[in-house]
């Protein structure tokens, strides 16, 4: 494949994936509003289009036209940069997520993934750990005690749960033998899904990921009833929308990683003509990601919020030792069977 073909195909893949990601982020807001409404025995958005499906469009228009206030007391450079930082790091991690098999178009055949790095999993972990800066700097730059407290709490929470997040994935790595996300999915063929071999790791991963993305029951940083709105108190219109989108994009990334690492990614029954064989894996992947997004919303509207010291104690005193124990047990079993 020549260099121009490679560049053109990569460009097409990147644009398509970013477009799908941003649409998914917008419609996950719709999903949240509808599911939370039905959990609370009400309807949610029903007026803007059938089933309220055009509501995200209306919200987008609202955010664009809303007045973008910039208070005089904020530290301008970081105030403007923080939502951009949050957004950039939230969207970048989709670049190593594989969502299908190899599609064969002859000389234009390509893997359904923007790029397959052989350290793909570490790249995703690195990008999520850089995403803490968006939150911390937003809290700082707002020059406001509520935002500062929210920002501090959020960054401390995020770095604490990053540790158990990373360690919970080591069990998966021991089984798969590679850091490349495509190889990890390939190691789960023939129904050897990692959820069967690493249930404890899945449990730790899910809880740590909920804490990383600042979602209930760990959403004390943006607790509406406690800190006004936490680190994004002083933000309005487009900048707030960027934080909002960054949060949902992080949720999508976590859901994608959970399906890839524990639920077999795009693996599922594949049949029919070649065109169907190329599309079915993508459909399975999307269904599984949708299930995890639904789980996110379901948990948010079912569980009450943790208190901050309970949250930190849980992360350090329960999840971390459990993750280490999981690594030890997994390593022993794998070494014994070899």
């Amino acid at each position: 494949m020549s260099i121009t073909t490679f560049v053109i195909i990569s460009l097409i893949k990147s644009i398509a994936v970013i477009f799908v990601l941003l649409t998914a982020v917008a419609y996950s807001v719709w999903l949240e509003r509808k599911v939370s409404a039905h959990i609370q025995n009400r309807w949610g958005p029903t007026r803007v289009g059938p089933f309220g499906l055009l509501q995200p469009l209306a919200d987008g228009v609202k955010f664009i036209f809303k007045e973008d206030l910039t208070q005089p007391h904020v530290y301008k450079p970081l105030y403007i940069a923080a939502p951009m930082i949050a957004m950039v790091f939230a969207i970048t991690s989709i670049s190593v997520i594989p969502f299908g098999n190899y599609v064969d178009f002859g000389p234009w055949g390509t893997y359904l993934q923007i790029t397959d790095l052989n350290i793909g999993l570490l790249v995703v972990l690195g990008i999520t750990s850089m995403g803490v800066y968006g939150v911390a700097l937003a809290g700082w730059a707002s020059n406001n005690k509520y935002s500062l407290l929210g920002g501090l709490r959020a960054s401390a929470q995020m770095i604490s749960y990053e540790v158990s997040l990373g360690l919970s994935l080591v069990g998966v790595l021991i089984i798969a033998g590679s850091l490349s996300l495509r190889d990890i999915v390939d190691a789960q063929r023939h129904l050897h899904w990692n959820i069967l071999f690493q249930p404890v790791a899945f449990f730790i991963y899910l809880i740590s990921a909920y804490a990383e993305t600042n979602r209930t029951p760990f959403d004390l940083p943006e607790a509406e009833s406690e800190l006004v709105a936490g680190y994004h108190t002083e933000y309005s219109a487009m900048k707030f929308a960027m934080f909002f989108m960054a949060e949902y994009a992080n949720m999508v990334t976590v859901a994608c990683l959970a399906t890839l690492l524990f639920f077999g990614g795009w693996l599922g029954p594949v049949f029919g003509p070649p065109i169907l064989q190329a599309i079915l894996p993508v459909i399975w992947f999307c269904l599984k990601v949708f299930f995890f997004m639904f789980l996110y919303v379901w948990v948010r509207w079912t569980l009450p919020r943790f208190r901050y010291d309970q949250l930190m104690a849980f992360g350090w005193k329960f999840l971390l030792p459990l993750a280490i124990a999981n690594i030890v047990v997994t390593a022993l079993i794998v070494a014994w069977r070899a």
């Binding site: 750990s129 700082w140 960054s155 010291d309």
Partner: protein, 200 residues
């Protein structure tokens, strides 16, 4: 060719970040410059083909150590540096000293540094290779380093804890509101507010 352009690109960002770190007067700006230095170094490691080291540099240095720096600056509400009077002796000895040192280093590198360059992939950089080296040939240094880190953690815990909790001063034994009743306090993160007084 492209390789050399990228090397100088990342090197320039690294140098600019390092100089900005020294020049800025507010610590938060210095911390952000240091983050760009770490990220540029990760780029340099990638150019050498050490992708695992680059990823770990971003995760550990730029993503954890620097976050702790930023949290500390935010928590302690560190303000702008105060400019003390410059010392004339320091300038008289320092500036020529730095120039001499720079000339010496440059001369050594130029006259004896003709070692050629390394192609990407010539040295082992994959995670599997590093794991093999770390757990077979360099196992003893690895274990010793982990004990060293454990000592550092214990030292940090001791330094950060309250004196009454470890020292059992007889003078403080008859104060009813000392350490034991404050065990369940919320973490200092919330209690201390915006750098307000530390009450013991």
């Amino acid at each position: 060719m492209f390789h050399i352009i990228l090397f100088f690109f990342f090197g320039a960002i690294c140098m600019a970040g390092a100089i900005n770190l020294l020049v800025q007067s507010h610590p938060i700006n210095s911390a952000l410059s240091l983050i760009t230095v770490m990220a540029a170094l990760a780029g340099e490691y990638l150019l050498l083909g050490a992708e695992f080291v680059a990823a770990v540099q971003v995760i550990v240095y730029a993503g954890a150590v620097m976050v702790l720096f930023v949290i500390t600056i935010m928590l302690l509400n560190a303000g702008k540096e105060e400019h003390t009077k410059g010392s004339r002796v320091a300038i008289l000895i320092g500036v020529p000293g730095v120039l001499i040192a720079a000339v010496l280093v440059t001369w050594t590198l130029v006259s004896r540094g003709q070692t050629g360059s390394v192609a990407i992939g010539a040295l082992p950089g994959s995670p599997q290779e590093i794991a093999r080296l770390l757990f077979h040939e360099f196992l003893l240094p690895f274990e010793v380093t982990s004990v060293l880190i454990l000592i550092a953690i214990m030292g940090a815990v001791v330094l950060a804890s309250r004196p009454e909790a470890i020292a059992h001063h007889p003078a403080k034994a008859d104060q009813p509101d000392s350490a034991p009743s404050k065990r369940k306090d919320a973490p200092q993160l919330v209690a201390s507010g915006v750098g307000s007084g530390k009450e013991r």
